[in-house]
C-alpha cells in the first residue's frame, strides 16, 4: 500500500521513436507520427549523441507519450540514462535496427532482472 504507484492513464497516448531513418519512416507509415502546433514531433531520426540525450529526456517527461521506442544501438550510446530510468510510463522498449541486431545482454529491463539468475543471489537465498 505504501509503495502504490499511480499510473497516468490516457485514451490517446503517443508512441515516440528514437531510431534510424528506415525504422522511423516505417513506423510513420503505420500512422504513429504526431506533430503538434509548435511543430514538435514524437520522433527523432538519430544524429548526434547530445540530441539523443535531450530527446530521450524530453520524451520521458512528456505526459502524452506512453511508449518510447529506441534502437538498441542508440540506447547503448546513452546507456547510463536508459538504465537509470525506472518509471512504468512511458515504457522504454529497446528494438533492433537494420545494422545492429537485438542483444538481450544489453537490454536495460533484462539487466535489471538478471541478477536473480546469478550465483550470488541463489546462494544468498539458500543461506
Amino acid at each position: 500500500m505504501a509503495n502504490r504507484v499511480q499510473i497516468p492513464t490516457s485514451n490517446s497516448a503517443l508512441i515516440a521513436m528514437i531510431a534510424d531513418e528506415d525504422t522511423v519512416v516505417g513506423f510513420l507509415m503505420a500512422g504513429v507520427g504526431n506533430v503538434d502546433l509548435r511543430r514538435k514531433t514524437n520522433y527523432l531520426i538519430v544524429d548526434s549523441i547530445k540530441q539523443i540525450e535531450d530527446t530521450f529526456k524530453e520524451f520521458t517527461t512528456r505526459e502524452d507519450i506512453a511508449v518510447v521506442l529506441i534502437s538498441q544501438y542508440v540506447a547503448n550510446m546513452i546507456r547510463f540514462l536508459v538504465d537509470s530510468y525506472n518509471k512504468p510510463v512511458p515504457a522504454i522498449l529497446e528494438i533492433p535496427s537494420k545494422d545492429h541486431p537485438y542483444d538481450p545482454a544489453h537490454d536495460s529491463v533484462l539487466s535489471r532482472v538478471k541478477y536473480l539468475f546469478s550465483a550470488e543471489s541463489v546462494a544468498s537465498g539458500r543461506r
Binding site: V5, V25, N34, V109
Partner: protein, 215 residues
C-alpha cells in the same frame, strides 16, 4: 535440498502457503521473461521483413521518392495511438496496460456510430419483432455494410499516410506499411509483457528481501 520451516504450519506435501506463493511468483516471472524474449524475436523478424520491403520500394520508386525530406512536418495528430489503463486484475500493483488503437481517428467514429445504432435498437425493441425474416436480411446486409464502412476509412487513412511519397506508390511500400503495423502490435504486447515481468520481479525481490531480513 528443501528445508522445512517448523515454525509455520505445513501442508500435506511439505510446502507452506508462503512457499507456494513464492513459487507461483517465480513461475510467473520466468513465464513472462520467456514470453518477452519470444516476442522480441518475433519483432525482429517482422522488422526485418519491413526493412526489406522498404528497401525494395526505394529501389523501384527511387531514393528521392522514399525519403525523410518528404515527411509531413505540418501540425497533425497521430492516426495510431495507445490507450493506457491501470491493470484491472491488480489495482494496487501500479502496472499499466497498453492497448493499440490503429487508425483510431477513423475507426472511433465508426465504432461510435455502431454503438449509437445498438442503443437505438434497445430503446425500440417492439419495432424489431415485425417482419422478422425481412429484418434479419436487412440486419445482415447492414452489418456487412458497416464492416465495409469500417474498412474504407481505415484504407483511406493508410493511403493518406502513404500520400507523402506520392499518389502512385509501389506495392512493396504498401507491404512495408502492413509489416510495420504488425510490428506495432507486437510492440504493444512486448510493452504489456515488460510491465508484467517487472511486476513479477518486484514480487520475487520483495520475498527474497523479506527472507534475508528474517535471517
Amino acid at each position: 535440498m528443501e528445508v522445512v520451516d517448523h515454525e509455520t504450519p505445513s501442508l500435506e506435501n511439505g510446502k507452506t502457503d508462503k512457499e507456494v506463493e513464492e513459487n507461483a511468483n517465480v513461475l510467473q516471472f520466468m513465464d513472462s521473461m520467456d514470453a518477452y524474449l519470444t516476442l522480441i524475436h518475433s519483432l525482429s523478424s517482422t522488422l526485418r521483413r519491413g526493412w526489406l520491403e522498404l528497401a525494395s520500394a526505394r529501389h523501384s520508386m527511387g531514393a528521392s521518392r522514399v525519403n525523410t525530406v518528404l515527411l509531413d512536418h505540418t501540425s497533425h495528430p497521430a492516426a495510431t495511438s495507445l490507450l493506457v489503463t491501470q491493470d484491472e486484475r491488480k489495482v494496487d500493483s501500479g502496472k499499466p496496460h497498453f492497448t493499440l488503437c490503429k487508425w483510431a481517428s477513423s475507426s472511433n467514429e465508426n465504432s461510435l456510430f455502431g454503438e449509437k445504432q445498438s442503443s437505438q435498437d434497445k430503446l425500440h425493441p417492439q419495432l424489431r419483432h415485425r417482419g422478422s425474416t425481412e429484418l434479419y436480411e436487412e440486419k445482415t446486409s447492414s452489418e456487412n455494410k458497416a464492416s465495409r464502412e469500417v474498412d474504407d476509412p481505415v484504407q483511406k487513412e493508410r493511403s493518406k499516410s502513404l500520400s507523402m511519397f506520392g499518389t502512385l506508390v509501389s506495392p512493396k511500400l504498401r507491404a512495408a506499411q502492413l509489416s510495420f503495423e504488425a510490428a506495432l502490435e507486437t510492440l504493444v504486447e512486448i510493452a504489456n509483457m515488460r510491465s508484467e515481468m517487472l511486476c513479477a520481479f518486484d514480487q520475487v525481490n520483495m520475498k527474497l528481501a523479506g527472507r534475508k531480513d528474517e535471517k
